[in-house]
């Protein structure tokens, strides 16, 4: 049978969005931008502290009503060193590889915050490692998660 040519349609679909951060998101992002502070909230029922602050504590189905300021320090709870490129949604450019993606538990917080870690050697990473947020300089923060540049591995030893 003769092989017939099969065609493809190649398109770039651009779908712009302007998402409302909402009440809790605005509180957190404003604190990052204006004060280099990390803000969470506490559930009145189970007393869990959430970062980012949540609209609802899922297990209790109650709106956390107490704003809590968290330190910039915590522990690395989970991570992976990623070895393939990813198109940065912010710049449209390929993110340099490798990079480390981590889940961080800030001191005094019950939930985990996802962010980058500035250590890409798997041999030097382990769960429980102390980490600390590094903020973008004044004038460069705009009110988004990338206002935290990354978490750096601290010199102090974790417990």
């Amino acid at each position: 049978m003769e092989k017939s040519e099969l065609l493809h349609l190649q398109v770039v679909v651009e779908l712009p969005y302007r998402w409302a951060a909402g009440r809790n998101g605005s509180l957190m992002l404003k604190a990052l931008r204006d004060e280099k502070k990390i803000i969470g909230n506490r559930c009145p029922e189970c007393r869990k502290v959430y970062v980012p602050p949540r609209a609802v504590c899922g297990p209790c189905f109650i709106a956390p009503d107490e704003t809590v300021e968290l330190p910039a320090t915590g522990i690395l709870a989970g991570y992976s060193v990623v070895n393939y490129p990813f198109i940065d949604p912010e710049t449209g450019e390929k993110r340099p590889v490798p990079y480390t993606y981590g889940y961080i538990q800030l001191d005094g917080c019950d939930s985990y915050l996802s962010h980058f870690v500035n250590e890409t050697d798997p041999a030097r990473l382990s769960p429980g490692l102390r980490v600390e947020a590094v903020f973008k300089p004044d004038g460069e923060r705009v009110g988004q998660m990338q206002d935290i540049l990354h978490f750096k591995v601290s010199e102090e030893k974790g417990g």
Partner: protein, 383 residues
């Protein structure tokens, strides 16, 4: 049929842009509101249906991202299932899950923000990506073709449609949830900006943000609650071809079929005589008379006359969209469930200033999804 009842309902105000609440915050607001309305707590809900659309939300699996907010992660998690379509489709699905015997109650919650994405691009995205979508058609251009087909078939005029906008935007003045409320004249509509002929800007529903929730319960549970249950007496969902070229746009056979089935379940023989109030999905002005014809409220081609003669007016024999309808607030997907909530409030006698005259024993609510009303859900609610 009196197997399943609506026992709680809540909706946000519909606004051009809701900035002080993200999706979760909106969903939590209406979920809490519906529970309070029902006099139930989250412990009483054993099944959840979340309704949303990924293109509108700008994220994949959008319906599974509001689980904390809708209460389905309560105490480690409950059964949750999702629908991508109109809120009325979620209602039907929720009802069927209770009828399966596995659940006593179901929360159905729907959210959408038209303000956060690009309506033209998103609705263009529903068309065939090889042959149709590259040519730029979107919801309003498609609707304009349907309006033109409908006019040409029966000799209707643009004025016929303008009457619908004047009526519904006028009704919206009584509804605090509505987004567009105005005392308008036929001339105001006729001289408004031409968008896609024959549709002018006042023939179009607005872009809106909002959320809505209802709580369904089986007969046993519903009868024990303090609040008067509003029974789902009949319900049906039908759909026709996706490709507009395969459809006769001056007709809506899927709606005709859905109405026939829902009326059969509810024992309705003459809708004009038996149904006290109608809330239907008028995303564009011409849709209201066209849908009324297919719902059997008048003969084909007479929907415009029905409106012009005042039969569908707030104080007419069959008030249609006393809330102001979708022309006055159009959070996509949410708008169908909003029709159900409006009909529920009318039956309870709790519609406030927009409560129609006389007892409301039987009400019709209607939702659509897809281009030019590809899919229709008809819900008959009653005491």
């Amino acid at each position: 049929m009196t197997d399943i009842a609506i026992v709680g309902a809540a909706q946000t105000g519909y606004r051009r842009r809701i900035d002080d609440a993200n999706f979760s915050e909106m969903v939590y607001e209406v979920t809490s509101g519906a529970l309070a309305d029902a006099g139930l707590s989250i412990d009483d809900i054993d099944n959840f249906i979340t309704v949303s659309n990924d293109f509108w939300d700008g994220r994949t699996i959008s319906s599974m991202a509001v689980q904390d907010a809708c209460g389905s992660s309560y105490q480690g998690g409950r059964n949750v299932s999702t629908v991508e379509g109109d809120g009325t489709f979620g209602l039907l699905y929720g009802m069927m899950r209770i009828l399966s015997g596995a659940y006593k109650t179901t929360l159905v919650v729907v959210h959408c923000k038209g303000s956060e994405g690009n309506m033209r691009q998103i609705t263009n995205g529903m068309f065939d990506y090889i042959y149709t979508r590259p040519l730029g058609i979107e919801a309003t251009a498609a609707a304009a073709m349907q309006a033109r087909c409908y006019m040409d078939r029966y000799g209707l005029t643009e004025e016929d449609f303008a009457h619908v906008s004047v009526k519904n935007r006028g009704n919206a003045r009584l509804n605090p949830h509505a987004q567009l409320a105005a005392e308008m004249t036929i001339e105001d509509v006729m001289t408004s900006k031409m968008m896609a002929a024959p549709l002018k800007i006042h023939d179009l529903s607005p872009i809106s943000d909002g959320a809505a929730a209802v709580i369904l319960a089986d007969r046993n549970t519903a009868s024990k609650l303090g609040r008067k249950p509003v029974w789902i007496k009949g319900i049906a969902h039908c759909s026709e071809a996706h490709y507009l070229g395969d459809r006769d746009l001056a007709e809506a056979p899927a709606l005709r079929d859905a109405a026939h089935r829902a009326y059969g379940m509810a024992g309705v023989e003459n809708p004009f005589e038996e149904i006290d109030v109608v809330e239907l999905y008028d995303a564009y002005s011409y849709m209201e008379p066209l849908w009324l014809e297919e719902l059997g409220f008048c003969p084909r081609g007479k929907g415009g006359e029905l409106t012009r003669l005042g039969a569908t007016a707030f104080d007419g024999p069959v008030p249609v969209n006393p809330s102001g309808g979708v022309l006055s607030a159009h959070a996509v997907l949410v708008a169908g469930l909003a029709r159900v909530i409006e009909a529920t409030l009318q039956i309870r006698g709790e519609a406030g200033e927009r409560q129609v005259e006389g007892p409301v024993e039987l009400a019709l609510a209607h939702g659509i999804n897809g281009p030019c009303g590809q899919s229709h859900c008809v819900v008959i609610l009653g005491e």
